[in-house]
Symmetry: C2
């Protein structure tokens, strides 16, 4: 099975010759720091070996729970925010399609404080059979806690306390915290947010796996893709190693004054993969006054929106473009006798082919315009490729962060708004 491809040929011309060789020693040192667990944040390296060393007993329970959910629920409400949300959302959006609908519909909640959003969900689920997966390490994060308080009450009114308990699945700390305590008291089935994996690296733990499995996806193939990518990245020399090359070029461009990295896709189903990537890199590296600003664009739609700026605005951008070889969908442009729209030159071509040409044309335009392009190749819209993609970005991010000289595994700045909010809301102790 093909793994993630990475191409630097549309980027290297923007750097001095041998730049990638000159940074090689630093990138390899960062890789060693990561793999030896000798760097900052080394308590959070559980994701490195996860595709091989995951808990097989829990994995089997996840599949069993997903099967039960598929059998008794039209909707699974997944309550979580940040790392307890974006991985599952990315996977579900990437994999679902008109001819392979979700086994159970997934509705995400608890990632905002919007009354309108909550009421909209309550309206949507009024007549649907329900299960819930609430995901929170502590159980007291405000957004998911509010949502779960509302949904728990609804579930108990609808199914009774015991019936609700059989439909509520908790993913939380293995031993401590408010949600763990509640689960024990109420008899909810529990899955584990591992102690040594931060939220943004947790998609291949129970955090991501239960919702992904419940959507009908093959999580064995997802893990196999991640494990295969891991094996490849661990053993491949620097010059041919996609993750090490990505880390090298990100750092090189940052050191050369670039300020913004755009992650671009050409397919709507990639949108939430970009959102997941934004958290991974922004939360890992946006600290100590450092880090590329992370933006994502969906092409070609955004070429008609911010395309002008990418083409001709400040030249402080780099662009990483994800291309998917096999999208699993096809539709041809047909010939038309009138040809008012002058599209007959496209007749007989598939949209995937035209889209590929749009990618090539865009790359050429942006490179000509002064924006270095890095290309990430995803062989197929399936679980194996997605698992490989998740691992590729995670591994690249860890190496990238150590090369940059920050701790890629903490997020001290995330507390600031919460503390202020708690104070304003009159929470005890703030």
């Amino acid at each position: 099975m093909k793994l993630i491809g990475f191409d630097t040929k549309y980027a290297k011309g923007f750097l001095k010759e041998h730049a990638a060789e000159e940074i090689k020693a630093r990138v390899l040192a960062a890789k060693d720091t990561l793999l030896s667990g000798s760097g900052k944040g080394s308590d959070f390296l559980g994701w490195v070996d996860l595709p091989e060393k995951y808990d097989k007993e829990e994995f089997a329970r996840i599949k069993k729970a997903a099967a039960k959910i598929n059998q008794d629920s039209e909707v699974l409400i997944v309550i979580g925010i940040g790392g307890s949300y974006l991985g599952a959302r990315a996977a579900v959006s990437f994999l679902e399609s008109y001819d392979r609908k979700r086994a159970t519909e997934i509705i995400f909640m608890g990632n905002n404080i919007s009354a309108l959003y909550v009421n909209t969900v309550l309206d949507q689920i009024r007549d649907k059979s329900l299960s819930v997966n609430v995901i929170s390490k502590s159980g007291t994060t405000t957004e998911p806690a509010i949502a779960f308080r509302i949904i728990k009450k609804l579930m108990e009114e609808r199914y009774g306390k015991e019936g609700a308990a059989s439909r509520i699945y908790v993913t939380t700390d293995k031993a401590r915290g408010a949600l763990k305590k509640m689960a024990e008291q109420e008899g909810y089935e529990c899955f584990v947010v591992p102690d040594d994996i931060g939220g943004r690296y947790s998609v291949l733990s129970a955090v991501g796996l239960l919702p992904i499995a419940a959507s009908g996806a093959d999580i064995d193939a997802l893990m196999l893709g991640a494990a295969s990518e891991r094996a490849y990245l661990l053993e491949t020399p620097y010059e041919d190693n996609p993750a090490l090359q990505y880390a090298a070029y990100r750092n090189l461009f940052y050191e050369n004054g670039k300020k913004v990295e755009i992650l671009a896709d050409f397919e709507p189903f990639m949108h939430y993969v970009c959102e997941w990537w934004k958290q991974l890199f922004a939360e890992s590296e946006g600290k100590d006054g450092k880090g590329l600003f992370t933006a994502s664009l969906d092409f070609t739609t955004d070429l008609h929106s911010v395309g002008q700026l990418v083409q001709d605005g400040e030249r402080n951008l780099i662009e990483t473009v994800m291309e998917v070889d096999d999208t699993g969908a096809a539709i041809q442009v047909e010939s038309d006798a009138d040809n008012y729209d002058q599209l007959n030159y496209l007749a007989g071509m598939d949209l995937n082919y035209i889209n590929k040409k749009a990618q090539e044309g865009t790359r050429q335009a942006h490179v000509d315009g002064g924006v270095p392009n890095l290309v990430v190749n995803i062989p197929k819209r399936d679980e194996f490729s997605l698992g490989a993609l998740f691992y590729f970005f995670e591994f690249a991010c860890g190496v990238d962060g150590y090369t940059l000289g920050i701790n890629p595994f903490d997020q001290p700045g995330v507390e600031a708004y919460k503390k202020n909010m708690f104070h304003l809301l009159g929470k005890e102790g703030y």
Copy 2:
């Protein structure tokens, strides 16, 4: 009725004293350039007086067409890209809610080249009664032209040539172009993309109005909001003028080395307003190597994603935060006897109140962290406020662009990718 509010008090401390006074003459000169039509791009100033001087006969036809669509169609497919897409999408997303569903469901197409997306839409509309609004000045823009070729065939198969013609509405050039010609031949009802209004400024023309009206929204109130905001912005002195102040601060921060403007919201229904804003500002100002990079964030969800970077990454950011006073929705946190989640301190509070405190806490955190905050206040989630908001941003953008010294009404860079793509696809003449 309240208009758009704007507050600079969380931003001015980041600039030297009297900075806003020092740039006043330049901003007022830019305003004069705009209103006198003496600047670059002055052929595209039709939007300035549009809220007063719109075509009343066409406006009545739009309402009539919308009423027919509501009567005979479960789905209106709106085909367009960029400025022929984002305004309507922003309005429809902003206004719809669980207790005020769209009169006709709106599905947007023709803003990508994704086979999967097209097939997904074809699957969704299989059993639905349909109308179509295709929006394109020329009628040959690739993305919408492909979508319309597919949908036109489907409509004719389903309704016959004549039946389809009565359900297809064209918004295009008043006299020329491929789509105008097709409409005349086929007998489609036509609405006008005005010659003197560029795509990104066109939401209050037929481009935006037909889909917005078909969704069930009150377009009279939308226009009244825009007209009221226009009157206010034209007559209010610099010091109290929201649009002039916004233009002043954007330019001041840009001249002080800021590189990225984040437009943030705290409600999911605002997401596409941000997307519309991104096109408006990025396409107007991202040229000649200039312009703030435009990004948008949906809080609080993105505080758990890129919040770390906003709080503590490179200090080259400014943040403009949109707050909505009356969202039209309410739900309280209830008390819970067990209080496992420790949320009882919020019992009796409405989510709108908690969300407001999250806004205040976030603002304080980001300002403390070195990110100047500008605040845009939207009185109500309704048509009047939205019309005012559209006009506020448009007017600010025109003044802002002239202050920056570029032509805010062209977009020469958007052609680059198209030319390359046409060449790669073998289009004649490329």
